[in-house]
Amino acid sequence: MTETTTPPAFVPQPARIPADQLVSDVGIAERAAEFRAAPLRGPYATLRVIQPEDYPFLRTLETSSEVATRWRLRGTTPGPEQWVQSLWNGVMVQFVVAETKTEKPIGLVALYAPNFQEGHARLGAGRFDLHSRNPVMIFGVAMFLEYVFHGWNLRKLYMDLPEYNYPQFSSGLGRFFDIEGRLREHTFASGRYWDELTLAIYRDRWQSEGARLLGTEASKFGAAANATVGGAA
């Protein structure tokens, strides 16, 4: 018969922080001065919250143009109420990307399906003019990534997309993102099957490499000081 031993009882240890520091505010003012909000408005791109007034325009765009087959709806045309629900389903934060100069909406960015236990979430980004090579949308996405990594302790973001959407930003492979998943012939569109890619954007790489895309947006023009939710709207 094996002799069993009772584990020692847990005895709480007294706090090692001196009592006078537990109740002091030493250093708080200095730390508070370091707080800054991520910019939502830059010289070229502005992120603004989606308003109900945007719904007709967005729904028309998402269901009646080439965007319809390339974006999340993949050519389906849900009813108005169902469409609004799908727009916000699982979404944590979402903005319209607009040109700062003209206030013209040029795209959407969204963060959805966050998993704070594992430290990741999914990123969605799409421009309204699919054939444009205008870099303003890129500046908007860069500002959004900064907003996300600055505001939440997420270590990586996934972006799922069919391979036919990949060439729009493929130059960033290995610098801003990696391809971490590939589902062969996963998506049917335009008469054939396409691979579905999962890109991964890491916080540390973004902060060392990607954040330089914000150079013009945030630092040089002092956009942070003018940041407002809603921006130019």
């Binding site: 100069k101 090579r133 205008n134 870099p135 890129i138 493929s170 960033g172 895309l213 150079g215 013009t216």
Partner: protein, 88 residues
């Protein structure tokens, strides 16, 4: 590569930067080459180039018409002229 000069970029430096962002051999970066059609630039690469020229070389005139510009028609030679670069 020489040190950046404020407000301008020498041709050889511009060619090297364009090649680096586009992951191209520098020999392909010739004045008549279109950024998008010939060199395969996407909008992310265009954004990188703009930030580089604006931040590193302080070329402030380049982004003037960023929103309306048709980047599919921009050639390396045009960029060189706008950036005050030397001869090729």
């Amino acid at each position: 590569m020489s040190l950046p000069l404020r407000g301008q970029i020498q041709w050889e430096d511009l060619a090297v930067e364009i090649a680096a962002i586009g992951r191209l051999p520098v020999e392909r970066v010739v004045p008549e080459a279109g950024l998008i059609d010939d060199l395969g630039y996407d909008s992310l690469a265009v954004a990188e180039l703009i930030v580089l020229l604006t931040e590193e070389y302080e070329i402030t005139t380049l982004p003037g018409d960023l929103e309306t510009r048709d980047w599919s028609k921009v050639t390396v030679g045009q960029l060189r002229e706008e950036c005050g670069g030397g001869t090729a």
